[in-house]
C-alpha cells in the first residue's frame, strides 16, 4: 500500500463535496429559468441524473472509464463494484475518494444535458436515456481523455473536463434538442424565467463548487491547485463582465442573467486550461468566451432552435473554445506544457483534433440514443401533459401554493 497524503486527501474530500453541490446547484440554475409549472421537474432531473450516475458509476461506470485500457477505446470491467478498492491508493490519495471525485463529474455532465429536454421530457424516458447516455457517451470520452484512451495517448490536454464534461454535454444537448423537438409554443409565447433569484443562487453554487472541480483536478493540495483556483475565478469574473457588456451594448440592458451566464461560460472555458494557463491567459479566455457564448445564444435563438437552457451555447461552445484556448495559452510559467503563444503549433492542432472528435462522437451517439429511447418508450410527454406542466403531470406536485 502506497503512502497516503492526509493533506491531499483532505482537499480531495472537500473538493468532491463541492462538486457534488454543483448538480443540485445546476438544478436550481435551470429551475429558475423554466416556467413555474415545470420547476420541480427541472430540479428533479438534476437530482435523478445524479442518482442514476451515482449507482452506475460504482457498479461499472468507473470501471469502463478508468479500468485497464482496451485498445484505447474503453476500460475493462475489472473494477466492477469496486471490490478491494478500500486499500488502493491513486497518486497519494485513497482510491475511493478518487472514484467519488470522478463520480461527481460524471453526474453533473448528465445533469447539464437535461437543458435540452426542459419542460417536455417524460420522466421514465429520462431514466433510460440517462443510463444509456452516461454509459455510451460520457464513459468512453472520459476513458479516451483521462482513462488512458487514444486521446490521452495523442497528448490532448484537458485539465478538468472541457472536453469530457462540457463538450460532451453541450453537443449532446444539441443532439437531444433536435431529437425531442421544440416546446409547444416556442417562439410564439413568452417563456420567461419564472424565478431569476433561484437561477442566481444556482449560479453561485456552481461558481462555488467549480473551485472543487478545477482546483480538485490537481488531485493534490499544491501550487497547481492554487493556480487552478485563481484562474478559475479570474475567467468566471471576466467572462461575466464580458457577457454583461456585450449584451449591454447590443440590447441596451445588462441582465443579471447575462452576468451569471457569462460567469458560467467563463468557468466552462477555463476548465480544460486551469492547470496550464496563468491569470493573464485566464483574462484572455474569459473575455473571448463571454462574447462568444452570448452570440452563440443569440444565434441559437435566431435559428429557432429550442436547446432550451443553452447548454450548447454555454457548455458546448464554451468547452470547445476552452479546449482550443488551452492549446493557445498554455504557458511554461505554470506547467511543462505550452501552447501557440510559445510557438507550440502541435499542441494547438492536437487540441482541435481531440475537441472535434469529441464533438462529433457526442453529437452522433446522443442523437442515436435519443431516437432509440423515443422509439422504445417515447421521449416526450403528451400535449396536454406539457400544457399543464411536468410538475403535475410527471410528479403529481405543485411547486408553490
Amino acid at each position: 500500500m502506497n503512502h497516503i497524503s492526509a493533506g491531499d486527501t483532505a482537499w480531495l474530500l472537500a473538493a468532491t463535496a463541492l462538486v457534488m453541490l454543483m448538480t443540485p446547484g445546476l438544478g436550481l440554475f435551470y429551475g429558475g429559468m423554466v416556467r413555474r409549472k415545470n420547476v420541480l421537474s427541472m430540479i428533479a432531473l438534476s437530482f435523478i441524473a445524479y442518482a442514476i450516475v451515482s449507482v452506475q458509476w460504482i457498479v461499472y461506470g468507473y470501471s469502463i472509464s478508468f479500468g485497464p485500457d482496451i485498445h484505447g477505446i474503453i476500460g475493462s470491467l475489472k473494477y466492477l463494484l469496486l471490490f478491494g478498492f478500500y486499500h488502493k491508493v491513486i497518486g497519494d490519495v485513497p482510491a475511493l475518494i478518487y472514484v467519488a471525485f470522478q463520480l461527481v463529474f460524471a453526474a453533473i455532465t448528465l445533469a447539464i444535458v437535461t437543458s435540452a429536454c426542459a419542460e417536455r421530457i417524460k420522466l421514465s424516458a429520462f431514466l433510460l436515456f440517462g443510463l444509456l447516455w452516461t454509459t455510451f457517451v460520457y464513459d468512453p470520452i472520459a476513458h479516451w481523455v483521462w482513462g488512458g484512451g487514444w486521446l490521452s495517448k495523442l497528448g490532448a490536454l484537458d485539465f478538468a473536463g472541457g472536453t469530457v464534461v462540457h463538450i460532451s454535454s453541450g453537443f449532446g444537448a444539441l443532439a437531444l434538442a433536435l431529437a425531442i423537438g421544440k416546446r409547444r409554443g416556442f417562439g410564439e409565447y413568452n417563456m420567461e424565467p419564472h424565478n431569476i433569484p433561484m437561477t442566481l443562487l444556482g449560479a453561485a453554487l456552481l461558481w462555488f463548487g467549480w473551485f472543487g472541480f478545477n482546483a480538485g483536478s490537481a488531485v493534490a493540495a499544491n501550487a497547481s491547485a492554487a493556480n487552478a483556483f485563481l484562474v478559475t475565478n479570474t475567467a468566471a469574473a471576466v467572462a461575466g463582465l464580458s457577457w454583461m457588456f456585450a449584451s449591454w451594448i447590443k440590447e441596451g440592458k445588462p441582465g443579471s442573467l447575462g452576468f451569471v451566464s457569462g460567469a458560467v461560460a467563463g468557468l466552462v472555458a477555463i476548465t480544460p486550461a486551469a492547470g496550464y494557463v496563468n491569470v493573464s491567459g485566464a483574462i484572455a479566455i474569459g473575455i473571448v468566451v463571454g462574447v462568444l457564448c452570448y452570440n452563440m445564444m443569440l444565434f441559437r435563438i435566431r435559428k429557432g432552435l429550442d436547446e432550451s437552457l443553452d447548454a450548447w451555447a454555454v457548455h458546448g461552445m464554451g468547452g470547445l473554445w476552452g479546449a482550443i484556448a488551452t492549446g493557445i495559452f498554455a504557458t511554461r510559467a505554470v506547467s511543462q506544457y505550452t501552447g501557440l503563444i510559445y510557438g507550440n503549433f502541435h499542441q494547438f492542432i492536437v487540441q482541435i483534433l481531440a475537441a472535434s472528435a469529441s464533438v462529433a462522437y457526442a453529437f452522433v451517439v446522443t442523437f442515436i440514443i435519443a431516437k432509440f429511447v423515443d422509439a422504445v418508450v417515447g421521449l416526450r410527454v403528451s400535449e396536454e401533459e406539457e400544457y399543464v406542466g411536468l410538475d403535475i403531470s410527471q410528479h403529481g406536485e405543485t411547486a408553490y401554493t
Binding site: 413555474r36 409549472k37 410564439e188 409565447y189 413568452n190 401533459e385 400544457y387 399543464v388 403531470s393
Partner: protein, 109 residues
C-alpha cells in the same frame, strides 16, 4: 359604462394586450387567477389511474369602457385569445355605475 372581465390563457396574454393596444385600448387591470370551465380542466391518464388537473393558471383582464366600445373590446379579445381548443376562456360584461379618477377626483358615468 361597462366592465369587461376576460379570463384567458396566460400564454395568450401578450397577444391580447398587443391586439387591444392596436385598437387604442390601453387601460386595463390584470390579475393572475386559476380557473376551470365546464369541461373541468384536463384529465391525465397515468398508469391506469385518472388524474384531474382542474384549476389551471389563467389571466384575468379587467377593462372598464364606455358602452360604445364594449363590442370592439370583446371582439378584439376573442380574436386574439382564441386557439379553438377547450380552455380558451370567457368574457363577462358587468355594468359599472360610475368611475372616479383618483388623481383628479373627476367622475365619469
Amino acid at each position: 359604462m361597462k366592465k369587461i372581465e376576460a379570463i384567458i390563457r396566460s400564454e395568450k396574454f401578450e397577444d391580447v394586450k398587443k391586439a387591444l393596444e392596436s385598437k387604442g385600448i390601453i387601460a386595463m387591470t390584470v390579475t393572475e387567477v386559476k380557473g376551470r370551465g365546464e369541461q373541468k380542466g384536463i384529465t391525465l391518464q397515468f398508469r391506469g389511474r385518472t388524474m384531474e388537473v382542474d384549476l389551471l393558471s389563467k389571466i384575468k383582464i379587467e377593462i372598464v369602457v364606455d358602452d360604445s366600445k364594449v363590442d370592439t373590446v370583446v371582439k378584439t379579445i376573442v380574436d386574439s385569445a382564441r386557439t379553438g381548443k377547450f380552455g380558451d376562456g370567457k368574457i363577462f360584461i358587468i355594468p359599472v355605475e360610475k368611475s372616479i379618477r383618483v388623481r383628479t377626483g373627476e367622475i365619469e358615468k
